[in-house]
């Protein structure tokens, strides 16, 4: 095959108790955008980490431009010309944008760091990506989307031959995604090989030339994207028959909300976070908060859960006014919250799955009402079965689980507390199609069968349209519209977000 840039042959990787990769072949050509696809835990991230030197392979060979390489650290991989932007942005929030771009390879003048040059070059670099920001400000001034762009700028600048993008669009909106794609296509024209990992099928079909599908650590095959229908791709990923897959997109019967109001937020707001929000959540209702990043959807959820306190308005639960100053106050009123940032706000990585599951319940019971070990085991085992969580045992460390399974554990943590209101903030981000579907169905199921009120927050319009019976649309930290039942469609929501006839 001509102009082969990278060749990975028979790659094996074994983790204690798990065969993460088994005899994977992967070929990347010059000027190609190649997608890696598979469900959670299929081995995409592991394969990338073997390539970038985060993990050492246990067998097989990697050839870059015909030469065999074995990077031992990400730095060595970078020196070979392999740059990566990971799923979770790996930058330092307390450093400036310019520092983040040049960290570890600062240009020097007379042995000292040349700050002027750093700032100038950083600015130039970002301008090329159409990002016009102050590079001397620290990173935490900017949204996750901008941070993602900065991470890409950094990766590209390390004169890469291969650029790996692991879920780069999961926190970007449509416009930003298109901007990113423009850059990626530009890089492709320069002959760079690009490995693009994403759960968004449309994006794969929009952008990629070929796709390699993995399942359970094994290679399913490599295909030309143009010649592979979407349904077939999904079928290959989940390893099911086409007929099963056709049900995937099918709507679950939505839940019908009851007349009883569980929670009423009466013109609530918080200085600097949320200007104005007014909402009534009924029992058995699946409600969506729609809006762009930073529109106030997450902030509303955090106010309802007591992460921050409201500075105006009032919150009524079952008709009674309540002061929610800390999460425990919300938890006592049977409110549960799965936060947006799983890694930072959700998981306790070094604790076991069992401990992660019982954590919220234990916090609610208090330090001195220890849940007996047997009871913990029962709760954990039940949850693992109920939510179909893939673990080697309930004592497996949380950090060794794949993203989707971690998310399920966090949901399980709240389900065992038996909440009346469950807030799910981006529960499906960075999760494969199959699990996504499971979570959506679970949300509807909980509302229908248990009369639980659910708040569903997601950047994916499809998902919201499919699951919610009412959508509250936010823009610029205010509620701008409410869309109900049959009026719910992607188009209507988009129009409301964009500020059409609100």
């Amino acid at each position: 095959m001509e102009n082969v840039l990278l060749e990975m042959r028979q790659i094996n990787k074994i983790f204690p108790g798990v065969r993460a990769l088994s005899k994977i072949d992967f070929t990347l050509r010059n000027g190609e955008i190649h997608s890696l696809m598979g469900e959670n835990g299929a081995g995409k991230s592991t394969l990338v980490k073997v390539l970038t030197g985060v993990y050492q392979r246990d067998g097989g060979a990697i050839k870059l431009e015909g030469k065999e390489i074995s990077p031992h650290t990400p730095k060595e991989a970078q020196e070979c010309g392999i740059s990566t932007v990971y799923q979770e942005v790996n930058l330092c929030l307390n450093l400036t944008v310019a520092e983040n771009i040049f960290i570890g390879r600062e240009p020097k003048k007379h042995g000292f760091i040349d700050w002027k040059l750093i700032n100038m070059r950083a600015e130039e670099l970002l301008k090329k990506l159409n990002v016009d920001i102050d590079v001397t400000k620290t990173l935490d001034h900017y949204s996750v989307a901008i941070q993602q762009m900065i991470a890409i700028a950094r990766a590209v600048d390390v004169s890469a031959k291969i650029l790996i993008l692991d879920e780069p669009t999961s926190s970007l909106d449509e416009q930003e995604t298109q901007r990113l794609f423009k850059i990626i296509r530009q890089l492709k024209k320069q002959g760079m090989g690009i490995i693009f990992i994403s759960h968004f099928l449309e994006q794969i079909y929009d952008l990629c030339d070929r796709v390699t599908v993995l399942r359970n650590g094994e290679l399913v095959g490599t295909y030309d994207v143009a010649a592979l229908p979407k349904v077939e791709l999904i079928a290959r990923m989940v390893g099911k028959d086409l007929s099963d897959v056709k049900d995937f997109g099918k709507k679950e019967e939505k839940s019908i909300p009851s007349e009883d109001v569980f929670l009423e937020a009466d013109h609530i707001g918080c200085t600097g976070l949320l200007m104005n929000m007014d909402v009534k959540i009924h029992k058995g209702e699946v409600m969506g908060f729609a809006g762009l990043l930073g529109s106030g959807r997450t902030e509303t959820a955090e106010l309802l859960f007591g992460i921050y306190s409201i500075t105006k308005g009032q919150i009524l639960i079952n008709g009674k006014k309540l002061n929610i100053k800390e999460p425990m106050a919300a938890m006592r009123k049977k409110i549960a919250f799965c936060p947006e940032n799983r890694k930072l706000q959700g998981i306790i990585g070094d604790l076991s799955v069992r401990e992660n599951i019982i954590l919220a319940m234990q916090a609610k019971d208090g330090m001195f009402c220890h849940i007996p070990y047997k009871e913990q085991v029962r709760l954990a085992d039940e949850s693992i079965k109920l939510l179909n969580i893939k673990v080697s045992s309930r004592e497996q460390l949380m950090k060794n689980l794949s993203g989707g399974n971690q998310q399920k554990v966090i949901i399980a943590r709240w389900l065992v507390t038996n909440p009346d209101l469950l807030i799910l903030d981006e529960p499906t981000r960075g999760i494969d199609v199959g699990t996504k579907n499971e979570i959506q169905k679970m949300a509807i199921h909980l509302a229908k069968e248990k009369g639980m009120a659910i708040v569903f927050i997601s950047g994916e319009m499809d998902e919201m349209v499919r699951t919610c019976t009412k959508l509250v649309v936010l823009r610029d930290r205010k509620k701008v519209a409410e869309i109900e039942n049959d009026d719910i469609s992607s188009e209507n929501v988009m129009r409301a977000i964009a500020g059409g006839d609100a």
Binding site: I307, M328, F337, P339, D350, L351, L359, A363, M367, I371
Partner: protein, 354 residues
């Protein structure tokens, strides 16, 4: 085989090996190391008992320190708190030469432990509530604490002649073992009870690993952090009783001097990472005994006390290396290479023979 593997992978394995190695060294090179005899006044006496006796206050300090370090904090004030506790108990009992106590001893002891808890609570408020970095927050009391102790004793060393006071560091008449051993056992049992019957262990680990996620799960992070410092203060208070009783005096300048460092070292030797998270109480206890054994060994084989720190440092480096994961991996690699080299040369020889 499976059992053996379970044993070596246990978190206590390496700390135990380190201690066992030291004890073995002692048994071989120190005469009468295992010898225990009964003295005339009905006390058991021997080097082993001496080690346990002398490591008691360090063990108690490292119990508290383990929890603090597990929340990814550190408490460098415990040495000074030991001094404060000593000052409180001695001042209250008083240095009357007729051997009478000015305050009932039980009250004085409670007051001393209470003072320790107060100091810990102060640290806890600074760290948990005002979010001052632990080193800085506890540095305040580390430097100021001895001054406070000096003020209490009016800058003098108060010697206590009240007889029962010496029972704490010595032994209660009629008992064959030093009182300190009972105190240590009581403290360890208390901690074991807390670990078994409450969720403090889970919450402390959770906060140490990911404080943000812990808060999102409803844990009162501020309270957990406050409590661990308060408990560390309590432990320092109890240690202060032992330290002052041993010398029957309150020496504000020297009581508990540098003990904070030994306590931190004990925790580290026990396998708890200073970055917080998982912690091992048993490991810390063994670590503390190891440190004391080391000191006793040095004295026993005749190393001068001014050279002691050097020898101790070397031993500590070795112990830490043994426990380092990276070092273990390097060692294994080296061994494998050597073995394969040996196999190769043996194979060559075999070929030669043919």
């Amino acid at each position: 085989m499976g059992k053996l593997k379970g044993l070596t992978s246990s978190s206590l394995f390496l700390p135990l090996v380190a201690l066992a190695a030291l004890l073995l060294f002692n048994i071989i090179f120190v005469d009468g190391f295992l010898h225990i005899e009964m003295t005339e006044d009905g006390m058991l006496y021997g080097r082993l008992i001496d080690i346990l006796n002398r490591s008691s206050s360090l063990i108690i300090l490292s119990l508290g320190m383990t929890f603090v370090i597990a929340t990814s904090g550190i408490d460098i004030s415990v040495g000074a708190v030991v001094a404060i506790s000593s000052a409180v108990v001695c001042t209250l009992i008083g240095g009357r030469s007729d051997g009478a106590a000015e305050t009932p001893m039980v009250l004085a002891m409670l007051a001393a432990v209470g003072a320790g808890v107060l100091c810990g609570a102060w640290n806890g408020i600074l760290v948990a509530k005002f979010k001052i970095q632990a080193v800085v927050a506890t540095l305040i009391l580390m430097t100021a604490g001895r001054g406070v102790a000096q003020l209490m004793t009016s800058g003098q060393i108060i010697t206590v002649y009240y007889k029962p006071f010496s029972y704490i560091g010595g032994s209660i008449p009629g008992n064959v073992l030093p009182t300190t051993i009972f105190i240590v056992v009581a403290m360890v049992l208390l901690v074991a009870f807390l670990m078994k019957k409450t969720s403090i262990g889970l919450f402390v680990q959770s906060v140490g690993i990911n404080p943000t996620a812990s808060r999102f799960a409803g844990i009162n992070v501020t309270m957990v952090i406050f409590l661990v410092y308060a408990f560390s203060g309590l432990c320092a208070g109890v240690s202060g009783l032992i330290e002052s009783s041993l010398i029957r005096a309150a020496d504000a300048n020297n009581a508990g001097l540098n003990m904070e460092m030994d306590a931190i070292l004990a925790v580290a030797l026990g396998g708890t990472l200073l970055s917080g998270g998982k912690f091992y109480i048993g490991g810390s206890v063994i670590g503390a005994i190891t440190i004391q054994t080391l000191t006793t060994t040095m004295y026993a084989i005749g190393i001068a006390s001014d050279q002691l720190p050097v020898i101790k440092a070397i031993a500590v480096i070795i112990l830490c290396l043994i426990q380092s994961k990276r070092f273990q991996a390097m060692f294994n690699e080296w061994k494998n290479r050597r073995n394969s080299h040996k196999d190769l040369s043996m194979a060559e020889k075999a070929v030669d023979k043919v």
